[in-house]
Symmetry: C2
Subunit: 337 residues, 2 copies
């Protein structure tokens, strides 16, 4: 049974049958119905191959984005989208809340959309092998690692900056500029995730410079990098103490919220308080003053994540781990004292 047989039985051309099967609009409803009836009756399989059929259903790569207001992820997503298309796959995008379970979301998406591979844009740093057993396809952790978990390096892939080292470098820059009383406003000190890891880098930088971490200079905001939470956190910090010359934030948008809180409370940046963060967003270049920050390379992160995922699809035994450099972007929010 070939497409020619179907065309002949229906009294139409081969190209008409093709148009119906490919759902082109320029076929009359009557002809469309006739062709579909015949296809169903005779059991014709498009492409003459059930295997092709099964394959054609699955050019889908799932992308689970954790945190809907994350401007850094928006930047990564653009490259991810372009790269997935360039490799001839289709991107299936799924947003979840910043505290939702991305593994569960990925597993459901895998089954519903018959995915070939998964890319997680943001997630927890403490996966266990049993938690991940629900994922049956290759996946890449984009922007995070398994730092707090116990996965075997051969069981997953990841592309991220070194969160610990980047935080360490940011705080070391503040110290190099003469700051000793350095505050930090972070979502959490112990979330077993990005916040804890960057907070640890902050502590290590202080320690390696012979400085003591002063508990009164640390403020936890809860939540997940939301600007209002950070604004409130900085206000609480200022209510408690103004005895600090620099403030470390974990992301550009929280740093912009922090600068706003400082400004609203009459603390000038950088004259009274220097501010440094991690992200390197375009929009924070236009903050007043321009934010000094460590640049997460969004494009490279997206490109590398898709490249590694494609290698995993070709070779089921392949995994890859890349830690990308996050260089300093000098702004005007840090001054030497």
């Amino acid at each position: 049974m070939t497409i020619k047989d179907v065309a002949k039985s229906c009294g139409v051309s081969v190209s008409t049958v093709s148009r119906v099967l490919n759902q082109h609009p320029d076929v009359s409803e009557e002809v469309r119905q006739r062709v579909l009836d015949e296809v169903e009756r005779c059991g014709y399989i498009p492409n003459n191959s059930a295997r092709d059929l099964v394959k054609s259903r699955s050019d889908a790569i799932g992308v689970v984005v954790r945190g809907t207001g994350n401007l850094f992820f928006s930047a990564v997503l653009k490259t991810v989208s372009e790269e997935i298309e360039r490799y001839g796959y289709t991107m299936v995008l799924h947003y979840i809340g910043s505290d939702a379970d991305e593994v569960k979301a990925g597993a459901i998406l895998e089954r519903e959309k018959k995915l070939q591979g998964l890319l997680f844009l943001g997630g927890r740093f403490d996966y266990t092998p049993s938690e991940l057993s629900v994922i049956g396809i290759p996946f890449v952790c984009c922007s995070y690692t398994n730092y707090f978990g116990n996965l075997d390096e051969k069981d997953y892939s990841s592309v991220s900056i070194d969160d610990y080292a980047t935080a360490y470098n940011a705080v070391t820059e503040l110290i190099r500029r003469g700051h000793r009383r350095i505050a930090a406003v972070v979502p959490s000190k112990d979330d077993r995730s990005i916040s804890e890891l960057r907070y640890r880098g902050f502590l290590a930088a202080l320690k390696d410079s012979g400085l003591e971490a002063d508990e009164s200079l640390i403020e936890e905001t809860g939540g997940c990098f939301e600007m209002p939470d950070t604004y409130e956190g900085v206000c609480r910090l200022l209510d408690r103490t103004k005895d600090f010359t620099a403030l470390f934030l974990l992301s550009d948008t929280t740093a912009m919220a922090a600068m706003k809180a400082l400004e609203d409370r009459g603390r000038r940046i950088p004259q009274d308080v220097s501010v440094i963060a991690i992200d390197g967003l375009n929009v924070s270049e236009y903050a007043i003053p321009t934010l000094t920050t460590m640049i997460q390379p969004a494009e490279e992160m997206g490109r590398e994540s898709v490249r590694i995922l494609m290698n995993m699809l070709k070779d089921p035994s392949y995994t890859g781990h890349r830690l990308l450099a996050a260089p300093l972007r000098e702004g005007a929010s840090v001054r030497s004292i």
Copy 2:
């Protein structure tokens, strides 16, 4: 020929055949191969219906996003993604440059991904019927209209704010606060698109208040709402004249770039220059000072666009047009004089 026959021929269970066809991972390669060979040999069609098969290939809704750095579109996209999933469809996302041809991109996507419908996030305002003849499926213009074109209202759908009226209202607010010398920095005065339409609203507000538009207070930046272009444009304006008390921008991010340029040139906001814009992004609430702006309702825009598209899929004769209200968000960037 049923799934039971395939299972029997292969000597495996029905659920194993189902797992192979649905590409679940927990099947040995040997069994998988055996099942696929048998499926191919006997011509079994999953679901016993070629019609279901054709249908199952096409739960895809294409979303073409024009302009990759547009923070407002990022906000809309989140809702669009959730709504498309809620209706049981799969979103296929495609980014294009801010000056790329979204109609051509949509037409290619329609064919490559066998789309059922298309949603354009951003596009030209001057489509002609012949240009759109390459699109063979229902589509919705999200965030723009056909103001400068000659489409029949029954041939497309759109959801947007009233760009002309919103610009008119923003500038009227400046006039209400006592401003008479009002400058504008816009991508273009005559792009037959969003920039021209909002610029016309600006001119109309001046005229209706008996003010004359002063050409020396208008600066075109070219480009497409990029922050660096606007920064440069404001610098050119200031090089020419400082004789204005208020500045109108067409988007929040360009307004943030404008405030940065004003600040860098020693013009205080709002003491020396009041600034107003259109968008209502979260991030501009944390600008210093908080941006006064007209709120484009991102969620409602996304939700309405998908709802209308779903109606079009059900009823090929259905089209819908919604102009959403864009209320003022009071900030601290406008003062009364």
